[in-house]
């Protein structure tokens, strides 16, 4: 093997990914090759320097911004459906098999009518949607053309196919809670998210489901609306504190731009400290940092109180 080939092996050797036979050859070679030995030492220093840099962490604020933007995008994506897939899927879920073929044909006809209306820009589109939604209980709206050119015989567009639902039941019903949990995370209207949290809050008499707790934590940390964050935080305060909730409270304390929410978070942490909840050294060092930087006197004062407890 040539000298240069051994040089090329150095990094793979340091990754510990050389095949066994090559590793033996390499180790034999460097015993007698001063150049390769020096090169190896130089690589070790370089890798150590890179390794230090590789431990750097991403700023939580950047991560929060990215997550909020992603949530908005995913919300928009969920509302989009493909014309061929979702329309037939929704219809087939509504109809029984014996009449499926007949109504399937009808659905294709409806799609054709809808395309015809849209492509030729009929002024009666609104009426057509309403009638269609009344007859099969699916509302078609937010049509967005991807390919509006009919010259090749095909067009492509997305739309929202919304099936109305109505549910009335016990507030502890699992299905009902699942819908509300989904609403808390995904509803565009902050008022609806707020109402959903209130209902969830009223249901939690027998301890909190882990999934709901995780949702409340996510919302308290990341919801773009401070009122919704506050309501989620209030719900969390009603639950006996554990490590997940403590981490969420510290996150809010360190990152939330609303001083009101930071005060809620620090008050909850103070209460927990008084009741004997234990804080790690890392928690305490974050609180010490908070004493230095928070622009709210009360938050700084309460952070000091927690540290005094230890």
């Amino acid at each position: 093997m040539k000298h240069n080939e051994y040089i090329e092996m150095i990094s793979v050797y340091l990754y510990d990914e050389l095949e066994l036979d090559k590793k033996k050859l390499f180790e034999e070679h460097i015993k007698s090759c001063k150049d390769c030995m020096l090169e190896l030492e130089s690589y070790k220093i370089l890798f150590a320097e890179i390794s230090k840099e590789a431990q750097s962490t991403i700023d939580p604020k950047l991560l929060m911004e990215a997550r909020l933007e992603l949530r908005g995008l995913l919300r928009a994506q969920r509302n989009k459906v493909s014309i061929s897939g979702k329309m037939l899927e929704s219809l087939s879920s509504l109809i029984s098999k014996p009449v499926g073929f007949a109504l399937g044909g009808l659905s294709v006809l409806l799609i054709g009518v809808l395309i015809g209306y849209l492509v030729f820009k009929t002024p009666a589109v609104e009426n057509t949607k309403t009638e269609s939604s009344q007859s099969d209980q699916i509302k078609i709206q937010n049509i967005n053309f991807l390919d509006p050119d009919p010259s090749d015989g095909q067009v492509e567009f997305t739309f929202d196919a919304i099936k109305s639902g109505h549910i009335k039941g016990n507030i502890n019903d699992a299905e009902l809670q699942k819908i509300l949990t989904y609403a808390v995370l995904n509803e565009q209207n902050p008022g609806t998210r707020l109402n959903s949290i209130n209902v969830i809050n009223a249901t939690q008499t027998q301890g909190l489901d882990n999934e709901i707790k995780a949702t409340l934590i996510t919302v308290a940390k990341f919801d773009e609306n401070p009122g919704v964050r506050r309501e989620a935080l209030k719900s969390l305060k009603e639950i006996p504190i554990d490590n997940d909730i403590k981490s969420a409270l510290i996150y809010i304390l360190l990152n939330d731009t609303s001083s009101g929410l930071r005060i809620e978070a620090i008050n909850t942490l103070v209460e927990a400290a008084k009741k004997g909840f234990s804080f790690s050294q890392n928690d305490l060092s974050l609180l010490r940092e908070k004493i230095q930087v928070d622009n709210n006197n009360y938050v700084r004062f309460q952070a000091k109180n927690i540290i005094k407890e230890y």
């Binding site: 840099e53 933007e69 995913l74 995370l185």
Partner: protein, 187 residues
């Protein structure tokens, strides 16, 4: 009990939005950090982050567990990074003078207390490495980041970047050689 990636994917495939969120939050710090290291720009990193997870969302319904989720995710991430075109003309490096950039990736390893002097040295080292990284080709840089920052095996990186192990070894060798030259020149 913590659910496995596979459990979360199956739940996501059945329409569970919370499972998708948990799956994303399990890996998104790594994706964002990789994107930031790759581009050196917070806005570009966020754009890549969004693009990666929208592709994950769209592709997850067809995911058939032929590879690990993380391998698939980083394959998407490396594809998006490599094909990423800058929308706006921005300086292609991190600068010590750019306080915004230094804010976003801390050079402080988690849990370590550093003196102001050490902090300055670490920030300077990080800046030099970042500048040197920007001299690498797309494939060299991505191979290097996946190896040295994310700790993947050469075989795994080859799988993610859809090429042979020998090719990855060449990328890594060239990347390390260039980085060493760049760093030596910057002292």
């Amino acid at each position: 009990m913590t659910l496995s990636d596979k459990d979360l994917i199956i739940k996501t495939q059945n329409g569970d939005a919370l499972a998708l969120e948990e799956l994303i939050y399990r890996y998104d710090k790594l994706v964002l950090r990789l994107a930031y290291k790759y581009t050196g720009d917070t806005d570009d990193a966020k754009d890549i982050y969004q693009e990666v997870f929208i592709r994950v969302y769209k592709g997850l319904s067809d995911f058939q567990f032929k590879s690990e989720f993380s391998t698939w995710l980083f394959r998407i991430t490396s594809n998006v990074c490599i094909s990423f075109k800058r929308k706006y003309s921005k300086p292609n490096h991190l600068s010590l003078n750019d306080e915004n950039n230094l804010d976003y990736v801390s050079a402080i390893p988690e849990g370590n207390e550093l003196s102001p002097e050490n902090l300055a040295v670490n920030a300077e080292t990080g800046s030099r490495i970042n500048k040197a990284l920007n001299k690498l080709s797309s494939n060299q840089k991505m191979s290097f980041l996946l190896k040295h920052y994310e700790g993947y095996k050469i075989r795994e990186i080859a799988d993610m970047m859809n090429c042979k192990e020998g090719t990855i070894k060449k990328y890594l060798f060239e990347a390390v050689r260039k980085l060493r030259t760049q760093l030596e020149n910057s002292y």
